[in-house]
Symmetry: D2
Amino acid sequence: MGDIRATLRAQAIETPSWAYGNSGTRFKVFAQRGVPRDPYEKLADAAQVHAFTGVAPTVALHIPWDRVDDYADLARHASEVGVRIGAINSNVFQDDDYRLGSVTNPDPAVRRKALDHLLACVDVMDATGSDTLKLWFSDGTNYPGQDDIRSRQDRLAEALSAVYERLGEGQRFLLEYKLFEPAFYVTDVPDWGTAYAHCLRLGDKAQVVVDTGHHAPGTNIEFIVAFLLREGKLGGFDFNSRFYADDDLMVGAADPFQLFRIMYEVIRGGALSGRHGGPEQGVAFMLDQCHNIEPKIPGQIRSVMNIQEATAKALRVDGDALAAAQAEGDVLAANAVLMDAYNTDVRPLLAELRQEMGLDPDPMAAYARSGYFEKIAAERVGGTQAGWGA
Amino acid sequence: MGDIRATLRAQAIETPSWAYGNSGTRFKVFAQRGVPRDPYEKLADAAQVHAFTGVAPTVALHIPWDRVDDYADLARHASEVGVRIGAINSNVFQDDDYRLGSVTNPDPAVRRKALDHLLACVDVMDATGSDTLKLWFSDGTNYPGQDDIRSRQDRLAEALSAVYERLGEGQRFLLEYKLFEPAFYVTDVPDWGTAYAHCLRLGDKAQVVVDTGHHAPGTNIEFIVAFLLREGKLGGFDFNSRFYADDDLMVGAADPFQLFRIMYEVIRGGALSGRHGGPEQGVAFMLDQCHNIEPKIPGQIRSVMNIQEATAKALRVDGDALAAAQAEGDVLAANAVLMDAYNTDVRPLLAELRQEMGLDPDPMAAYARSGYFEKIAAERVGGTQAGWGA
Amino acid sequence: MGDIRATLRAQAIETPSWAYGNSGTRFKVFAQRGVPRDPYEKLADAAQVHAFTGVAPTVALHIPWDRVDDYADLARHASEVGVRIGAINSNVFQDDDYRLGSVTNPDPAVRRKALDHLLACVDVMDATGSDTLKLWFSDGTNYPGQDDIRSRQDRLAEALSAVYERLGEGQRFLLEYKLFEPAFYVTDVPDWGTAYAHCLRLGDKAQVVVDTGHHAPGTNIEFIVAFLLREGKLGGFDFNSRFYADDDLMVGAADPFQLFRIMYEVIRGGALSGRHGGPEQGVAFMLDQCHNIEPKIPGQIRSVMNIQEATAKALRVDGDALAAAQAEGDVLAANAVLMDAYNTDVRPLLAELRQEMGLDPDPMAAYARSGYFEKIAAERVGGTQAGWGA
Amino acid sequence: MGDIRATLRAQAIETPSWAYGNSGTRFKVFAQRGVPRDPYEKLADAAQVHAFTGVAPTVALHIPWDRVDDYADLARHASEVGVRIGAINSNVFQDDDYRLGSVTNPDPAVRRKALDHLLACVDVMDATGSDTLKLWFSDGTNYPGQDDIRSRQDRLAEALSAVYERLGEGQRFLLEYKLFEPAFYVTDVPDWGTAYAHCLRLGDKAQVVVDTGHHAPGTNIEFIVAFLLREGKLGGFDFNSRFYADDDLMVGAADPFQLFRIMYEVIRGGALSGRHGGPEQGVAFMLDQCHNIEPKIPGQIRSVMNIQEATAKALRVDGDALAAAQAEGDVLAANAVLMDAYNTDVRPLLAELRQEMGLDPDPMAAYARSGYFEKIAAERVGGTQAGWGA
């Protein structure tokens, strides 16, 4: 149990700057009070999540949503409020030029523009000290025949190669895949196999990132995790949960047992230690969610706690008993070993852990009592609230 | 064949005013040139679709997107450009008050506000002469426990009952169902069974509308069509097509064979004659699509043509041969009768039909040649383009 | 907590006779040692499940798999080993005549044969004292055009009506729905809406049974449960779990959180008391699973325990706190109330409960120690093992 | 058009020996009259398909279902009736030892047994002159924890490597993937990415085979085809169609537009020429279907014709017009080019082609008139009908 506590204490979960801004569906964005107006305020909010959980030390940025003139100053600000800059997320889906794609667009000029943006994101990495570039392409087509599937792969490969060449020492990119949305017929990177194949050709600095909401119904995500870890190609997670499509609900909200199984495979693959603290970057554990109707900061705190609980349960799996039952082919016994760990209530353990770390055992209640929300709701009046379009 | 032509000539497909405005995904709305700035311009565009196809005589309105001071004047304008007002679509999903639902909201004041809007839509029906109110509720919850599933049904029933009571002679409402989006855990009207049960309790003026993109993967939509027709509860269609979720692509673009099977069941159920021309209102054939990346008017023309082609093929099914093969249990022969009709190229037939109707045999080319797009692109400068939020 | 214990003690879960026989996929049935050779041996096995759990007092029969000459004798045997006969399950899918359907077959002679079987099942109810007939129809078609969708509904309605008329005082039938398999294009009762509509027309003695593995991907099953309870039309459950299609795994194995949500709605709808003990029959909680690779009796014990655990958690939901949070529209608080109950480890409570009932606190271990398996494996040699085809 | 005809004439579609035997679902196998009793009779039936279509010259065998003492004699028989032996299909899923897997089984003795079978299949290749081994593994687990996901991949890799080493000059294996069934939690080769990664490590003699029914809902199969062709890793197809899961219906029956899109990508990737006639083996076009309720030989003829029709339509796509519209980003025009080809009725062209080849223009009618069915129904009495278990 001492080992489990040490492991849980060292866990590092990254929250995304955009989680603190407004978000919604294509039907409506419900604005909330107290939402940040700029990247500095986003970092301040993220710092609250770390302050109350102790395991959310880094914050992912999104360019251009978090564009500032002086990234070094932003990084300094992060440090001052108690966090660090994590992954840099590129955005090549919100310019009018990207209607038919970015790096896979049939128009070479648009492709060039998109690539320039990606390269500029590496500049931001240099400026902020970030070691990870996250690439998500909304590229695809809506109608059969609209564009040539294979040519788009050629264009994608060309762009990825150019970005790869630009990466410096200790830098990497993570390639994200997604079944669909916003493209509705072909998506150019629709599944892990596509992302994997491109990364494999490029080399060690290219890895796959698994967004837990980006799969076809029925996909066994923990299998993908286990497979990519075996291949040395799992670079990170975008955590969230879903009942239907890319719902972007709080991680663990829709299927906590699935989250547990994923974390079990992470541990089984020796990848829990994460990316901070060694020559190898390891797996980045990032949140990527939309708090459309619930408050942002508590939504992030709850999500971090959900991952902690799943991790704690997965750490409690009795490995020897499991291996023995598996070796004997005792289906029910092997399943029972896993379920015993899952059915354990680990909340007391985590409460104790927080107290050892000098934190309140109940982060949600502690945040609610802190008055932070009342403060930002009062102060952040006027200006333009941050959101996906800003 | 004479009968088929007469039937095809009498077909009536309704286009929605919002198809002519901008639309997109939660990631981006790509604005297009020449997009209408007000309901009058939308009707003008819709009139083009009718002018070139001859089978799109009515236009659905959406309140408040099409709110005007003088609906009688709007109806007059419609008549002047050659179309009529069709269904009135309510909107109880875009006010900040509706964050947790409209008619199923836990707050009675919000429910009252939503109901008032629905009743006001009946006023618009009275003012425009529309006979059909379309009710779509985005109501639902995102998280287990967020609200009480059963209480929300009680609230829904209460609101539907109040609207039903308000309907006048010759008026009806159509209740739409949708699996998910924007609600991601529970949707209060998620499937045809729920819509059917509510309509059944209310009476003949309440019917179910089938949006072809609103089903779970694997759902057999033509079964639902056949079943609702047998029960006398199919009120209409919202046509579009999808590969994944509610993609809102052009009808017939994703699975033209499915569209053919649906139209076959419509004909089998005696419902093709549609809603215009008798004491019974019949089935309304409406489009409900998003032309996110393709031009709007041609997108609608193409969609109308796709329905025409599916209808013409379905009309060509040899009913006697089919019945004989089915009665004998000859699986391959029965399937072959259906496939023979589907595999027939009906475009020459439809081209002839258009010429008989005094239309150009190729509506897409004729529209392109007409100069209408160049005209609106030049004229419609300034103002605020219509879209989902406007 | 006293209430919770009393409720859990009174819970009654029905196991199916066929769970004790061999089962498999279309690729292979892996025979197991000790499998029963006749209905008497099946009941003996089922009695073990009740002996070790205390909450599985009834056993569903399947005709003709459990056909005997003297049903009264079989019922006596059940009583002697400590169980009772539960629902009677009809089988109109394994005769060569049913290749194109049973009660919906285009051939009236086949329909008559199928109906006769259903009526004979009511005779078995009379002979055994069973109050519930479970109707599952594999009827459907594999190819578009193969048969007429609507005519098949007419035939179905006719057969259901005839069975309904035959039911005696205190008897009912439960109509099961299933998305697909073994029919691959149209299934004649594919969803709850279809089953509901047919039952509604017939009256109170016809109710819907929810098999938890029979839905399209993404279907919210607890919504259906809540809706049918509100309508007074939920007759029972066929419990099992699935990752993909109708996998028939042990209930709670694939998504324990879903099972918890279902049991929460059962309790919310006042339906936990089940069908034994009053003038109204209530909801039947039945297992319907295939232990293809795991041993049968332990598989059933584990399944019963999984339902108990989900029930115990659902009973622990703090209703007042939940209602308060819902009324306030506090999304995170309401969700947290539910999750607090789910995250509680109820196994100690259930262990205590078993001891109060004079049972071993660990049914799996107790059964393993009992030597029953060794006994049947030694004794049941020769003869034909029971299975789906026997 | 001359080119199109030449291409269509050269097309080669392989039918599987098991399509001529009985098949069914886990619920029932409906036996048919005239079904073969041994591999010789299967080849005779397959020869009929070739005789009436002219494009089905090879037949896949399945070991042990087609086990004979003298494979050279079987190959001679094939030649005499007018066909050749195609791919050899292994079977490591029907022995009792494979309950928990074959090559991934935790028990090394079982793994060895499975590998020996695979190696024996290469012996059959040597004896029959077959150049292609098709590997499908039903291996997987039903319950979380049942076995170690990663270790199973290690075992799989080891077995594949041993088979690869055994392959002779001009021989290859095709690795099949499948989302689920008969395994219901983890399948060891669940998707194309897994099959691709294993094949890539091994070399050119290992390729991926795409079964069109083996994907998650919403998967874009033509994307996978295009991607694998770009990588040089598409080895063949197992054609069939499905509405839900692995329904194994006749190819083109469920979604003929999808089949057309797949054939378009095959042509786009330069892979239509197939595997017969050059140093490179090319893509194998194989059927893999179950005619559960329809007659076998006509079912195969119809399937072959469906592929021909899809191919003919795909060949008619105006490549120049398509490329021009794609380059201009004209979404509707590009889509229209594809749809124009799809909407063309190619049946007259194929009828002419058959006449040029000395065949009846209507293979279905010609077979029906031939009296072959009446002959086998009369002759094949007694003995054991071939099926999946025999």
